[in-house]
Every structure is written in structure tokens, then in C-alpha cells.
Symmetry: C2
Subunit: 143 residues, 2 copies
Amino acid sequence: MNRINLICLGVSNMERSVKFYRDGLGFQTTEDKDNPEIIFFNNQGSKLELYPVDLLAEDIDKSDPPKGSGFSRITLAYNAKSKEEVDSIIQKAEKAGGVIAKHPQIVFWGGYSGYFSDPDGFYWEVAYSDNWKFDDDDMLIID
Amino acid sequence: MNRINLICLGVSNMERSVKFYRDGLGFQTTEDKDNPEIIFFNNQGSKLELYPVDLLAEDIDKSDPPKGSGFSRITLAYNAKSKEEVDSIIQKAEKAGGVIAKHPQIVFWGGYSGYFSDPDGFYWEVAYSDNWKFDDDDMLIID
């Protein structure tokens, strides 16, 4: 087992999240409904999926749906090609209804990094470093 | 913005999680320490990263670290090539210290699916369907 095919975010309002990811951030999909039952995006890396959180919990365990709140303890990251791209994406996320959790700044490991949270409080890091190498699909090369 | 480069799981015990993902499930890495400060895996799809949850929270916001508990409201998925592979991976996860949350079964959308949770309670779906198409990197083709 050495791959992650899908990342499913359990969201509280499909329409709000579809607008945030598709229309706000630009994640690509052929889905044109604003309030679909489920949506998959055709992005690089693990494919992004949005699904109502109650149904996601039910899908895991019908008898005792998982409960949870607050920080999901998972972050997703977009590794940008420049500081300007970091700034631009953080601004785009805020304009789309996200919240800037950490303004882009030089951080302890030498990169330039910021965080925003999506409408459900899922955190994304958007970062840039001189040291990263990308493959032909814009995915990080991990040595 | 149309990619996810990294998925970082904030874990409570690095050694336990490294053993689960590297030694138990077989995620590939050149890291041979059992208790590294951080670890990146060289998997297909968005790269998997493990980092202590307290430090992850601090990285997002030093002034008021996010708190959270219970269901992370995110699931990761491995799309298998056969029902037998689904069964095998769910068994491997249990043997490595995971918990089977849903035994593999035919589900409402026609596929064969099960869930396990990792040592921190992060849920993985492992599923198979006749209908899926994969690209050369074993990633799903989303029409």
C-alpha cells in the first residue's frame, strides 16, 4: 500500500464548499450543479472529494456514527512555485470565504508559508521554498 | 489552484505512527529512524506526512493553537484493484494496530468497501469497484 487515491472532506454545506473549492480556488470538475450530492475534483495528487459530513460518518459506521469537533488534526498543503503565488492563493481563499489563520511569512524551516481555513475549518498550508523539486505533474519529489 | 501536494496527519506518537504506516502498511520512505521529528513518504498521489499534532497546531497558530477531538471529518481512500486486495489491506491494517471500523462489504453505490482507523483515529476507506479507471500512476481517472 503506497498511495492515497482520494481525500474526502466531510462538509456541513455542500453548496458553500463547492463554491469555495470550484469557483473560489479553481479546483477543476465537470460538475456544474451548485448543490450536488457528492463531488469529485480532477486535480493533481490525491483527488479531492466533498461529501456531507453526516453521510460520511454514516458511511463509516451506521450503528454509531463518529462524532468530532474542532481542529481536524489534518492539514492539506499546496506547494507553490513562488512567494507571490503563495500571497495570491491566500488572498483568493479569503475572497472566497476562507479565513487566514497565518499570514504568509518566513518560517523556521526557511520557507515562506501561510495557512487558511476553508468554510468547515479545514486548514490548508500554502508555502514556497527554494529547495523543493517538482516532477512533471507538479508533485513534490521526496528523496 | 488545482492540486494537493501534501497531506499531513497530526499524530500523538510518532514512533507508533511511523511503524503503522511504514512497517505495517508499507508506505515507502528512506527514513529509517523509528522516532523522527517529521517524516515524508514517497507515495503515489498527495505525499503523506506525519508530524506531532501539538507542533502542527502550533505551526498553524502560535497564539491560540487549534483544539479538536473525535472524528476528523476527513477520510483518506485507497482504491484497490480487486476485492481480495481490499480484504488483504484491511487485515494488514488490523495486524499493524489499526481498528476495523467497517468490515469490507458490498455497499449502496455498488462497490466493495471497508474502513479502518489508524492509531490516532484517522479513517481510511479501502474499496474496489468494477467501474473505476486508473491512470499510469494508479490514480483514479475522474471524468
